[in-house]
């Protein structure tokens, strides 16, 4: 019988909200949730649905919320949803940065100023030049994303730039290379977050899926650190229910229940993505 470690939920610190479902204006070749135009496997969540989930999580003492998709700025009510949420808690939006119009940025800055809680805008960048980035995200994406980043910085929102670290170079060297490249593009205060690549969604076609050996199978209980994984402190909600984490919203076995209080049980770490998280120590959070 296969044995996998079980990750307890210590406390619900973070709730991920897949507000835009799987709808996106881009079709990135490595998207781990296979989002894109016309992709409606996960529908958008209504403002009322989000408000109910926020209330549910606040009742459990949640610290902060993350909004993702798909592309959150495709949601017609995103600004209102953020306004609802920021009244009670910090919020982060994960975006591809291509839909940041002047009026949206103005609204975001207003929300940030009016709230006691922090509003973080996190923009994904998959290469430090157009050729590298657009190879994942499509022609013209790099230019629009950099424009979005510049506008965010000019407004004082100080975006976090999420970059995928695929090479073997030293993290400090990689970070400095990112900062240098972003500086040359006119960004003076970028905040950098690096993420590993996950072999999920479209990435399984671009490269490959998880190999059998990439697994936490038979990891001895004595060797397992229950404080290493983000699923010890988070859950993700979509229009389809509650999932263990934002990475597994579209994977078999990732859905844990309908209500948050039904998902307090330990999660069996049987997915290849659990291996990536455990080995790299990564978290989808801002830290």
């Amino acid at each position: 019988m296969e044995r996998f470690p079980a990750q307890p939920l210590h406390h619900l610190d973070v709730l991920w909200i897949q507000v835009a479902g799987t709808l996106c204006n881009l079709s990135c070749t490595h998207c781990f949730v296979t989002c894109g135009p016309g992709e409606r496997r996960h529908p958008m969540m209504s403002r009322g649905e989000v408000r109910a989930r926020v209330a549910e999580a606040l009742g459990m003492g949640v610290r902060e919320f993350y909004f993702t998709g798909g592309e959150p700025f495709l949601h017609p009510d995103l600004i209102e949803i953020l306004e609802d949420t920021l009244a009670s808690a910090p919020a982060t939006v994960l975006t591809n940065g291509t839909l940041l119009t002047a009026s949206r940025i103005e609204s975001l800055r207003r929300l940030s100023d009016e709230s006691r809680s922090s509003l973080e805008i996190r923009v994904s960048l998959d290469g430090l030049d157009a050729a590298a980035h657009d190879a994942f995200r499509g022609a013209g994406a790099f230019a629009r994303t950099i424009e979005g980043l510049r506008d965010l910085e000019a407004s004082g929102l100080l975006p976090i730039v999420t970059v995928t670290h695929t090479g073997d170079d030293d993290p400090l060297v990689f970070r400095e290379r990112c900062l240098h490249a972003l500086g040359a593009l006119g960004l003076s205060r970028p905040r950098i977050k690096t993420l590993p690549m996950f072999r999920l969604g479209r990435e399984t076609t671009r490269t490959r899926g998880y190999a059998e050996i990439e697994s936490l199978r038979d990891l001895p209980e004595s060797a397992f650190d229950p404080h290493r994984l983000q699923c010890g402190s988070c859950r993700a909600v979509s229009a389809k229910g509650v999932h263990v984490c934002p990475l597994l919203v579209d994977e078999p076995g990732g859905r844990m229940g309908e209500r948050l209080d039904q998902t307090l049980t330990p999660f069996k770490l049987s997915h290849g993505a659990c291996f990536t998280c455990y080995v790299t120590g990564m978290t989808c959070g801002n830290g």
């Binding site: 808690a89 922090s118 970070r175 205060r189 950098i192």
Partner: protein, 258 residues
Amino acid sequence: MRLAAFGGIYSNHLALAAVLEDLRQGGSDLAWCLGDLGGFGPHPDRAVAALRSSGIPTLRGNMDDSVGHARGDCDCGYTDPRDNAFAQRSYDYTLAHTSPEHRAWMRDLPECHRLEAGGRRVLLCHGSPRRVNEFLWESACSDAFLEWMCAEHGADLLLCSHTGLHWHRALPSGRHVVNVGTIGRPANDGRTEVWYARVELEDGVRVDFRSVAYDHESLAREMESEALPPEFVETIRTGWWTTCLENLPAKERRAGRF
């Protein structure tokens, strides 16, 4: 009862001397140090000796635990590689310049402390009651989360440090959370003074933060003569953080220069 609390000395023995003098004149009934005695500044034994001589009870912060046990790094909780590189330099210098006797004393310090005052249960910790290196930033914690944390750990008043930025939140339930700040480096506000907290527990909870000036130029020169990173010295001279700031939430980051 009037309770004073400070954290994060970071080897800044000159700021500690100024804070101790301020405490002597301030009329507090009790003072606590919430940990992190070394790191960042010069000659760590000087601050530890002064603190121990003062008799002020002290918690074990992450740096004290790491230096005490020679764990290899400060366990500050940073995730950015540049922050971790600077934190490592701090740790290595502090470990090399802290006496075995002081390190043994650090190992035995408590991680948390409870007391009752003004009919309230007061809990003192370094980062948070659940994790010594947890960052409780003002803009990154919902009321719901702080209420949960206080309830979970049986506190009506929670005092913490670790982040370097001081703040106070009166929660809807009547509980209070106070981050007392740090006295080892300024509060990323362009001022060279450092901050600590005074809490009066009588007919409610009143919190005021004290800014304390000290001879920061002398400290900067000591740091230079010890070949500590110029980025650290710049912070002491300008009041702006230059390192270990990548995990600041946007709101707090925007208030700084870098």
